[in-house]
């Protein structure tokens, strides 16, 4: 239930597919989070690299965590270029009750931002510039830089 796409996401189609996939599952709450590229700092868009093996294992661990609460998580993300006002990210929680769903979507999106192996670049004046200042070092980073 991790979906990777080249370029921008078709948000209405994905939200519809996910809703219909779980229409018979007896979940009372469905909370998608949709992330859209904002116009700021003169960018033309964003671009993404994804390292799929670690993204998959990270996502699998979250599915387990959700399952313990009777919930499931779905996620879609773009690779490559996504232009202004297009969307690059959807995460969604389905759960029996709203409390768990609201809590999980918050925790999931926070950890996604801090841990998912995805790199963001600004598209600006024809260049692809790594967004270092908006990026987060994964927990445990820096061990190879320690001088003996």
């Amino acid at each position: 239930m991790l979906y990777l796409y080249e370029g921008a996401l078709n948000v209405p189609a994905i939200l519809k597919d996910w809703y219909e996939q779980e229409s018979g599952s007896n979940y009372g709450a469905y909370i998608p989070f949709v992330g859209t590229v904002r116009s700021e700092d003169g960018i033309d868009g964003l671009s993404f690299d994804i390292y799929e093996p670690i993204l998959k294992s990270w996502f699998r661990a979250w599915q387990e965590r959700a399952k313990e609460k009777g919930a499931i998580i779905k996620m879609a993300h773009s690779r490559g270029d996504v232009m202004l006002h297009e969307s690059s990210y959807i995460a969604a929680v389905f759960s029996p009750k709203r409390g768990v769903a609201l809590e999980l979507i918050d925790l999931f999106v926070e950890d996604f931002k801090a841990s998912a192996p995805i790199w963001k670049y600004d598209l600006k004046e024809g260049k692809r510039v790594y967004a270092l200042e908006r990026s987060t070092a994964i927990q445990g980073s820096g061990i190879l830089g320690v001088q003996k």
Binding site: G35, F48, D49, I50, Y51, P53, I54, S57, H77, S88, Y89, V109, F112, K113, A114, S115, A116, P117, I118, W119, K120, Y121, Y130, A131, L132, R134, S135, T136, A137, I138, Q139, G140, S141, G142, I143, L144, G145, V146, Q147, K148
Partner: protein, 73 residues
């Protein structure tokens, strides 16, 4: 041999090294001045599992990946 890959924005080709732990890798990579900033802020995975200690033993065929700061979404 151990394969070392540099992910995302680190513009560097993979290396094939004859090493048996991450401490040896640190010594080798610290000689490359272009990598200095990345060694400070990158996480390390062995065979696609993040590791937190330089004592991690490496064996023939292992893959080490460097993951610089992330920003999905």
């Amino acid at each position: 041999m151990v394969r070392v890959e540099f992910l995302g924005p680190i513009q560097k080709e993979p290396l094939e090294l004859d090493i048996t732990n991450l401490s040896q890798l640190a010594v080798i990579l610290q000689k490359d001045s272009e990598l200095a900033q990345w060694l400070q802020n990158s996480a390390v995975a062995v065979n696609d599992t993040l590791v937190a200690s330089l004592n991690h033993v490496l064996k023939n065929g292992d893959k080490v990946s460097l993951l610089p700061p992330v920003c999905g979404g």
